[in-house]
Each structure stands twice: as structure tokens, then as C-alpha cells.
């Protein structure tokens, strides 16, 4: 979903707190944000998406730019939330969920079918998880958000030359791992 030329109108409405504007912005950006945080191995990716949008609501008055810039801005917020989440979890180990919690969270359905459908995706995620943290950041932001090298460097706080090197090493390693596991062919 792309907002195109109506993005500026949607942005102005979102700054005034219009519900419809925020629904459009959420539908446009939430898949990208969720893909990024999930690919980075977040423990609760959907919670991080909600938290990222809450921060966006509070800081929307400071943003100015086009639709592509808004996507990069949202991913920057998600990246900082992700880092904060890692720090928080490193200080407070998680306690295992109770049986009642698991039953309440279970959506039902055919578990085997879901597992088979996700096999290839899980293998890709596993290969990406084998990369270094910086390589994961660069490849995920380039893949799922289609950001340029400049935008990735800005979000990660690195030089473009460093981002280029991380991108090449990440691609080579991912290619090797995926072909070794026979995912793509």
C-alpha cells in the first residue's frame, strides 16, 4: 500500500490526531517494521511494532518529509526500540509462561500445516540470524524497507562505506548458507 501524493494530507491529519490518518500510516508501515524487528530476532516483534507506533504518535509533530522519509523515520524508531528491548531483557531474564497463558494464547488450527508452511521462512530467518548484528541490520533494512545506503547509514549511525562493506559480506554469507541448505533451489 502506498499513499503516494496524498501522503502530505495524511501526515497533516495525523498531526492533529485524526484516526483515519493513523490507520493509513499503520497499514503502510507496520509490515515493514514487523519484518525488520522479526528478522532481527526480537522476542516480541508485534509488541515492538506497537511501541514504535506509540513513539511515532508522540513525536509526529517533529517530522517533516515525504512517504519514503516517513518509512525510514519509523524504522529508525523501531531500531532504537529494539536496542532498548535487548538491554531491558538482558537485565531482566524472562520467566517461563504458565500453561494457562499458553492455552489462552494458542490460536488453534493445524500446527503441522503451519510448521510446514513456515519451514522455508524459518530457514531463511535462521540463516539471517547467523550473520553478524550489523550485517543483519543492513540486509534487513535494504530488503524489507527498500531503503537506500544513505538512509541505512543514517539509521544505524555508520558511514556509507561501512554500510557497503557490511552489505557485501552479508550477501555473500547469506548466499552461501542458503544454497548450502538448498532453500532457494
Amino acid at each position: 500500500v502506498s499513499l503516494g501524493e496524498q501522503f502530505s494530507t495524511v501526515l497533516d491529519a495525523a498531526k492533529t490526531g485524526a484516526d483515519w490518518a493513523w490507520e493509513l500510516l499503520y497499514d503502510e508501515c507496520s509490515p515493514v517494521v514487523l519484518s525488520y524487528v522479526r528478522g532481527r530476532g526480537a522476542a516480541e516483534p508485534e509488541d515492538l511494532v506497537a511501541e514504535s507506533f506509540l513513539h511515532a504518535v508522540r513525536a509526529i509533530s517533529s517530522f517533516s518529509g515525504d512517504e519514503r522519509g516517513f518509512r525510514a523515520w519509523m524504522l529508525g524508531i523501531a531500531h532504537r526500540r529494539l536496542v532498548d528491548d535487548w538491554r531491558y531483557r538482558s537485565r531482566r531474564p524472562l520467566s517461563p509462561a504458565t500453561d494457562e497463558t499458553l492455552e489462552a494464547a494458542g490460536g488453534g488450527g493445524d500446527v503441522e500445516e503451519e510448521a510446514l508452511a513456515r519451514t522455508e521462512g524459518q530457514q531463511v530467518l535462521a540463516c539471517i540470524g547467523g550473520l553478524s548484528a550489523d550485517q543483519q541490520d543492513v540486509l534487513l533494512l535494504r530488503l524489507v524497507a527498500d531503503l537506500s545506503l544513505d538512509e541505512v547509514a543514517s539509521i544505524l549511525g555508520k558511514r556509507i562505506s561501512a554500510v557497503k562493506a557490511l552489505q557485501r559480506r552479508g550477501i555473500a554469507r547469506l548466499h552461501k548458507e542458503l544454497f548450502r541448505q538448498g532453500v532457494s533451489r
Binding site: D19, W22, S30
Partner: protein
Amino acid sequence: VSSFDDYDDEMARLNELSDRDLDRLFAGGSTGSALSDDLGAVLGAARTALTEAPSEVARERHLAVVLQEARDLALAEQTRAPAPVPAPVSPWRKVMRRSLSVALKLSVALGAATLSMAGLAYAGVDLPGNAAENAVENVLRIELPNQGRPENAGKSVADEVQAVIESFEDRGCEFGQAVAAAASANRQDESPAKDDPCTKDDSNGANGSRATAEERSAEGRARASEASGGASDAGADNAGTHDDFGRATAEEASNGGQGNGSSASEAGADNAGTHDDFGRATAEGASSWGQEKAASASARRKANRPTD
């Protein structure tokens, strides 16, 4: 089998692709080579595996939270009191305010400068000229201590000393006295004036001092001989003692006066004052010493003389 597995160093093969080629691959395109086809397939698989929208349940939950936050912020923004607008200030008031500020700063600077000058003047610091002291006295209407008198206004001690030096051609005793008096004009602990040594029998210079010394020594010698004569009447021991002592003192005084007088005459006019003073002081000392001894011996002789 992938052609990638034929090479150990995959980074070397990846260098065949430029940054623009990689951008095209990330955008879903291809450069037409086998390598780019391989990489395009890898990136496509990764993108497919990663891209996932939130579930409908999660979407509803997230939107409820986000929309509520947006409404709250919008409401808070509307109810927030507008910032107070500053009242317009007339140009005349601005000018007056600025002028007052400048005048205040100038007065503070002037006061600080005046106080510092007053402190320096009170401490007796000799600044070049007395302009600062005069300015302080004129402004504060007070008379500062340790400053020059009105007749010396505008002149420093150095100027006065320079004037004294230039006014004298002769570098004698009077010249030194005058320079010393001018230099010590600003002293706080000014002691009472002493007797002027230049006025004591120095009109004849070195010869005069020698003559004075000889006169003094002769007088002392006469008094000593008189004392020794009286002492012989009183007894052999006492008279001999006083006689010898008085004679030796007189001779010593005579020798000192003559020696000093002759050396002073050889030294020249510049040193005449110094030697003159020394010879005169020595002669005076000898004279007074001989007189005292003579008087003492005479009294003792009278006391020891047997009464008839």
C-alpha cells in the same frame, strides 16, 4: 549445484558486481549474469520469508492503543493555554531602556576606575604625573594624603629631582643635600631635619678641614697636658695613667685629623665633603674626649689633695 560453490572466496566473486548492480538486485531486478541471478534468488527468498504483516488481532490491538494516544495528545494540545504574547513596546521606551542601560554601564565603569585610582593614590603609588590624583581630588572634593602640595601640582617627585639635578652645576655637598631633600619630599615617615653638615666649616674645602682638625687636636693636646700636670700632683700612679692616656688620645686625634685632612685634599673636590666630615667628626670626638678626661682628672686631683 550453484556456481557459487565452485569458489572458496565468494567475496572475490561478489566484487564483480558494482554498488549499482547490488541496488538493482535489492530492488528485485537483475543484471543478466549468472551471479546476479543467484543473488537475486537468494534475496527474493529472504524477502518473501521476512515480509509479514501483523495479524488482524494484533492490528486491532495496536490501533486501539495508537489512536487513543493520538486523541489524548490532540486534546492536550487544544486545552493547553496559549503562550502569553508580550505586550508591544513603544520605540521611545526601547530607546530609553537602551540609553539607561548604556548609562548604567558607563557609570559603573567610571566608578570602578575612580575607586582604583583612589586606591593607588592612597597607597602612595607614584604614577607619572599627578593628573590621576588631581582628578580624584577634583571629583571627590577631598584632599588625598601623601600627595604633592598645590604648588607642586602636576609634578611628580621624579620631575622635582630632575629639576634639582639640572639646576646644580657643582656636585658638592649642597648638591647631594638638595637631591636627597627633593627625593624624600613624598616620604610618609618624614623625620625632623638634621643639622646641615654642609654649613659646618666647609667653606675652605680640604684645607679648611685639615686646619680645623689641627686646631682641634692642638686644643685637645693642651687639655691633655693640663690634665697630666694636675695628675702628677695627685700621685705618681694616677697622674701617670691619666697623663699617658690623655697624651695618647691627643696624638691619636691629631694623627687622625691630619691623615684625613691630607687624604681629602689629594682626593679632590668631589670627595672633600666626605673626608671633611670624617676629619671634623674625629677631631670633635677627640676634643670632647680630652675635655672630659681633663675635667675628670682635675676633679679627682682636687679630691685627693690633702687638706691643710
